[in-house]
Every structure is written in structure tokens, then in C-alpha cells.
Subunit: 443 residues, 2 copies
């Protein structure tokens, strides 16, 4: 290893996570993993590099421009870096047909790579966190996904949020209701999808400009903005369009889902039927959901829905699939804004620092560190050759709350002095009690 | 999304981890993370993509051929995929000089990418797991790293293993002792490094062929094969070469380290001074260590040592650094061979499956699933429309040990039947006791 000294820097859009950030990230990852396990979702991992033929032709041309390709000297395969976790899931389900028992409930928590123009909050490597149920057409699965989202957000500490629920079939029916020709349904979705940005008037204007009849558009816009609580909102739509086949089907699914959500114990306050929610042109075929943090209004943190055709890309027959993506990077940031991280997730893993009084007491300090670690206490042993004052300073700066001191007197008496750095308070304990006492002091 | 159907497959050397494998991997990752935290090592994460200028010129030409480069349409930066975790560490230490407090004790557990010819047990994406202490020259740090390795392996369940310890300075001194000119020291290391493969005679033959004096080579080979237990092995070398400055320094470090290992409580049975151990040409400057599983003889699972110059690649002044790499992929495989995975890490996350007796009892089943999850039980709700027998079959095949049944009778009585699938035994419990009873049955 040798080279001229090089300025240490990162490629555009890439991040390092130093320990304080990593501890927050791992806390969030840990909570969501725990919730996935509670719901019986199993972990899956796919490689960063996929064959280009697996990825290309799946995301649309604009997205394809953002895919990183990779190569090595003499390499013959065309490979590219993971762009999302859904296409790899479809590949896995087809590739391991004989190993995988359906339903396949899996989650994956992995980085994906997109060469987007870097900007605040948008990076070229970021984690996605997906949970999907492959092989179940029943609304039980859709309800379970929503229940999972609600539980995960509540366990993370979010309180004021709403899972907005709609159905792609209802959007199609809305098109019929407003007299939109089938060929123009894509335009309709695109316009309604802008509802949050350009408002009802903006959407209405766009649709009329696209040649739809003004009165029909106004009728439809009135309907999709209905905000009755719970099932009453479905009644409003049913009254207006119950005679349209696809609307009936969609409403039936949503009513079924509502009953299941209640059985799962999902609080009514955390869900709402919202007919303005579209979730892009995407690949959804049935119910769709999106969670927004409402108080304060901090936007969307999860999105998902039913997509019954996607798995068929790599397989003779498709499989009904429903899933959700937690916007894990956004959640990590919002938890800072809302101060949802527990106190012990802040700054350092170290619970106690063992000081070294002097050269002679070093072996005793090492023995103590060994004992604390055996006892399950996350322990740093101070290793520089400095006085106690400097050692306390170091611990303070690192955010370590407790230090253990064993000078010649304490060694002679077989005791240990514990000092809490926040208030300087000291406790002296017998060697045998030190682990318990530390637990008490750490609260 | 639309495309012709494509055969689902992976690039060469890449792997998917289906749930059963992932659970084992996550168990191992969890144990080592816990041990890192006990020792006060903090998590770090660097991105998969680094600038080429960061990676190139660090690993040698042969290694450089294995580096994947990456690009995207219109991209202007020359970027490449992470090849190891040590060069990124050196970059991070230089780049965040003001944020990072020394000593910097960090671990990183991340995939790296190497386009090696795929073969059994060798993949192009694999995890590395490194722990390093940057900024401490004292042998306390070296001893702590060895103590960490021993604790991690013991917690994973390994019993018969030995951390072999040597010192690069001692190897240099051996060269002097055998009359090897400085320019030929590299040849000496290379030959001794083959000791395990070609044996003492092979090494001796190579060295003589390289023009070294046969008698001196024989004397040195006798010395490096000394196998006295513990410190006695250092005495043997001291007697022979105590007058060589570098040998004296090396022996002083190793004696100091031995004293610290004892203070940390590292069992003597788990360490041995082994002067045939070289660890390649690498960047090591002082003590080096390598752990081998001895019983059965399963080869090396960790390697590391002191490398005081590397961090200087990105920084005006270097910093003394010592660290280790756990061969985590090898460890994951060996744990299978040695049957070290706990019983509850096998097959599925699901602890209980809630069956659905019939259409009418479905809401009750969902309520029960919700309650179990609230109580911390990892629960799958059966979602297909099949009879109880088929439901038991499904649970059995998935490796789920317990199923919960609530038919019309149980619902009427407010009780739940729990059935253990291994022996078919059934217990009926009150709703309020169900979580406790499940915990008991799961043991």
C-alpha cells in the first residue's frame, strides 16, 4: 500500500454515518424489524448487483437513466445496482418456486442506488424498507399490512398520523363516472395525483383543458373530496356510483378491509378513506394506502397497495401481492424533528467508562472492565496516559454518563467508586455489587 | 412496467438469502454487534460507492483488477464499489477529524465487492466485519482486540480455538538472525507465510533456493517452530535473539500484551505465540493475530494486527491503529457445521400460527392475532381458505411449533386451544392467560 496523499471525500450524493447517526438508524431498524417479526414477516436479502435484464424494462425510461451499471476488468455479464426491492422480490419468488412456501411474507431492509440529482434529503444511496405478502388475494392481507404500518409507527413513537386508503378500481370507476375515455385514464390519474400540490381547482382546470366535460369533472371532484369519517365516506361514493361495476367491487373490498382493520384492533383515528390519493401511475391493481404525519403536518412516511400482476414478470402465472414501503430515511429524519429517540440512543454505545488511576492500577482497571462486560455492561476502558480530570473530560465529551474509579485505596478495600458525570454524584460499592449498582444508576 | 418474461437468475458469484439463511446470518450479526457494544465499539457505515481515487493505489495491482467500477448515464465522477472496510476507515478518520474524538473505536459490518472467480465458499459480494481502535499505541488496545475476538467466538458457541499471536518486528528480527538482506525480507515473509501449506521443509527449501545460507535458515526454522506454552515460548526466542534490537522491542510488546490479556481475563487456552504466522505482506507494523478453530481443525476465522501507517494515507500524520476482521461468512458456515445455532434460530420467525376455523370465526382469529402481537408473540395469521388439517400441514412445513385454535365452542367459552405440532399435545387456556401459556410452551 502506497500512494500520494489524497483528499478524503465522498462521491456526490453519498453519505457516511458516524456513530451518533448510526445509533439512531439502528434503533429505527431494530424497532421495525421487531414489528415485522411480530407480524410473522421473514427477512430476505438480495444482492446489490442484479443482471441488467432483470432490472431494465421494469421502471420506465426516466427511471432507467438513474440506474448505476457496474463492471470489472474482463467481466462479461451486464450487471447493474439494485434500484428498488420490489423487482428483486418478483425475481426471487419466481426463481425459488420450489423452496418458497406461499404465502410468502417477507421484508427487506436494504440500500438502493439511484443517480438522482442530489439535493437536501435526497441521496444516491438510501435504505428502502419493504414488507409484502405474496400469494393472498383476501383483504385480510391488505388489512394486515395496514395494521403492521400502524403498529410500527406507534412503536417508533408517532402519535398523530393517518393511513389514507383508496382503491385503484375506484379511480377507474371515477373515470367512467366523469366520462373519461379509457385511453385518457392515465391523464386522469396524473392530474388527480397532483391534488396535494395544485389543489382541487388546479386539478379541475387541468382535466377540463384535457377536453373533459366541465360539469362531469366538477361532479367527480366534489365526490373525491368527500371527507366523511370512516365507512360513511364509502356510503357517499356508493350513493353516487354504486351502479358502476368496478365501483361496487372496489367498495366491497374497502368495506371488507374496514371490518378486518377493526378486528385487528387498528384505531379508527389512524385510518381514513381518501379518494384523492392515487400513488402515481405505478403497478397497483386494488387497494392503495399512504400514511401521512398529520400533527404537525410532515407529509408522507409510508406507501403501498395491492399489485397483483408484478410477480408475473418472471413467472408463468402471477400471484396476488400486497405490500408497503416504509419511508425509512424520512422516518429517521422525522424522529429527530419530533424528538422521538429514547435518551439511551443518543451519542455513544458506552454506558460506563473505566478510568485508569495510574500505571500500577492498570491491571485492576482491566479486570474491572472485563467483569463489567461479562455482566452485560457496555464498557470503555480508558487507554491514554492522562490524569483523572482529563479522563472525565473525555467521557463527558463523548456523552458517557458514568465513570468507574479504582485507585490504590479502592483496590485495597475491594470497592469501586462510581461517578455520575451529569451531577458529579459519587457512590462507592463492593466489587460484587458493581453491575447491579450501575444498572440502577443508568435507570 | 411491461416486458417479455425473463428467466429469473443472478449474476455470477451473487447470492440471495432466503429467510432460513437470513435468520442465521442475523443471529450471528446480532451476537457480534452485542459484543462490540460491550467493548465500547461504536457502529460506522460508509457508502457502497467510493471515488476511485480513494480506492486505487491501496490494494496492489492484482486486487485492483477485482474492483467493480460503477457509472450512470451522464455521470462525471469516477466511482467504484467498496473493496474492504479498512481504506474507508482511513478516509473517514481523515475526513471527520473535527467530529471524531480519539481514540476512535469503531466497527463496521457491511458487504464488500470483489470480482474474484466464483468458487465454493467464495462470492463476489460478501460481508466483512471489522473492529479497530484508532489512536492508541499502547498494547492495551491490542489486548482488548484479542479479548473481543475471544468473547465474540465464545458467545457464538465456539469452544476449541486458538488466537495465534506474533509480531511483525519479530519477523524482521528473524530475517537478521538468518542473515537475510533487508531487500529480501519480503521473500522471507512470503515463504514463511506458506508454512501451513508446504510445511517447514518446503519453506526451508524455498529459502535456500533464494540463496540464503542453509545453516542459518535451518536455525531460524527451528526457532520459529518453537511451541512452548505461553510466555515460555517468548523465552526461547529471547535466548536466541535477545541481542537483536528489533527482537527485544517485539518481545517487550508481546510480554506486555500477555500481561494485559491475563488482566482482561482471556483464558490462556485460547491464545498461543506462533512465530510461523505472517498474515501476508499486508500493512502490519507490530503485533499480528489470527484465530484458528482447532477442534475440529477448521482453519482461520479472524485475522488482524497493528498497522500504524495506514491512516496516514489521507492525513498529514498517521495514527497508531490496531484492529481485527472477523471472517463472518466463514463463521456463519462453520456454525452450521458445528451445530452452534440455537433451536429458535431455525427456519422461521413465527412462534405461533393462529388458525381460522371458518368464515364466521375469522374476526375472532384476527383479534387473537392482534392480542398475541401486542403481547410480544411473533404470530402468523393463516390467510388461505382451507380446512384445519391443511392449516396444520402448512404450519408443520414452515417449521412453526405452535398453533392456536378458536372454533365456535372456544369462542363461546372465551378460551383458546393451543396445539404443539411436534407431539400433537393440546392445552386449553383462558384468553387472559394465552400469552403466558405460549411462552411456557415455547420454553
Amino acid at each position: 500500500m502506497s500512494s500520494a496523499r489524497i483528499a478524503p471525500r465522498l462521491p456526490k450524493g453519498m453519505r457516511d454515518f458516524l456513530p451518533a447517526d448510526m445509533l439512531k438508524r439502528e434503533y429505527v431498524f431494530g424497532v421495525v424489524r421487531e414489528v415485522f417479526h411480530l407480524y410473522g414477516f421473514e427477512p430476505l436479502q438480495t444482492p446489490v448487483l442484479e443482471l441488467k435484464e432483470t432490472l431494465y424494462g421494469k421502471y420506465g425510461e426516466d427511471a432507467e437513466k438513474l440506474i448505476y451499471s457496474a463492471e470489472h476488468p474482463g467481466g462479461k455479464e451486464a450487471v447493474a445496482m439494485r434500484y428498488d426491492l420490489t423487482v428483486p422480490l418478483a425475481r426471487v419468488v419466481a426463481q425459488y418456486e420450489n423452496e418458497i412456501k406461499l404465502p410468502f411474507k417477507r421484508y427487506q431492509l436494504s440500500p438502493v442506488f439511484r443517480a438522482e440529482r442530489p439535493q437536501r434529503g435526497r441521496y444516491r444511496e438510501f435504505y428502502q424498507c419493504d414488507a409484502d405478502i405474496v400469494g393472498i388475494g383476501s383483504m385480510m392481507a391488505d388489512a394486515e399490512i395496514i395494521s403492521l404500518v400502524v403498529t410500527a409507527l406507534r412503536r417508533l413513537g408517532f402519535r398523530q398520523f393517518s393511513v389514507k386508503i383508496n382503491n385503484r378500481k375506484l379511480l377507474t370507476a371515477m373515470g367512467q363516472y366523469a366520462g373519461v375515455p379509457d385511453a385518457q385514464l392515465g391523464d386522469l390519474y396524473r392530474s388527480v395525483d397532483k391534488f396535494d400540490k395544485i389543489g382541487a381547482e388546479g386539478v379541475e382546470k387541468e382535466l377540463v383543458e384535457r377536453g373533459l366535460e366541465a360539469a362531469a369533472v366538477r361532479r367527480m371532484m366534489g365526490l373525491i373530496q368527500s371527507r366523511q369519517p370512516g365507512l360513511a365516506n364509502l356510503d357517499v361514493v356508493e350513493k353516487a356510483m354504486g351502479n358502476i361495476g368496478e365501483a361496487e367491487e372496489a367498495l366491497g373490498e374497502l368495506r371488507q378491509m374496514a371490518a378486518y382493520l377493526e378486528a385487528f384492533g387498528v384505531p379508527e383515528a389512524n385510518t381514513a378513506f381518501d379518494f384523492t390519493m392515487v400513488r402515481g401511475l405505478g403497478y397497483y391493481t386494488g387497494p392503495i394506502f399512504e400514511t401521512v404525519i398529520t400533527e404537525p403536518n410532515l407529509g408522507s412516511v409510508t406507501g403501498g397497495g395491492r399489485y397483483d400482476d408484478l410477480v408475473g414478470l418472471f413467472r408463468k402465472e402471477s400471484l396476488p401481492t400486497v405490500g408497503t414501503s416504509l419511508g425509512i430515511e424520512r422516518i429517521i429524519d422525522l424522529m429527530d424533528i419530533l424528538k422521538l429517540y429514547p435518551a439511551d440512543v443518543v451519542g455513544t454505545v458506552v454506558q460506563v467508562m473505566v478510568t485508569v488511576f495510574n500505571e500500577e492500577s492498570r491491571p485492576a482497571a482491566m479486570r474491572l472492565a472485563g467483569e463489567l462486560r461479562n455482566g452485560g455492561v457496555q464498557t470503555e476502558l480508558y487507554m491514554q496516559d492522562k490524569g483523572l480530570g482529563k479522563q472525565f473530560d473525555y467521557a463527558n465529551k463523548k456523552g458517557i454518563r458514568l465513570v468507574a474509579i479504582q485507585g490504590p485505596d479502592e483496590i485495597a478495600q475491594g470497592v469501586i467508586k462510581l461517578k455520575r458525570l451529569s451531577d458529579g454524584s459519587e457512590t462507592t460499592v463492593q466489587q460484587a455489587q458493581v453491575v447491579d449498582q450501575i444498572r440502577t444508576l443508568l435507570g
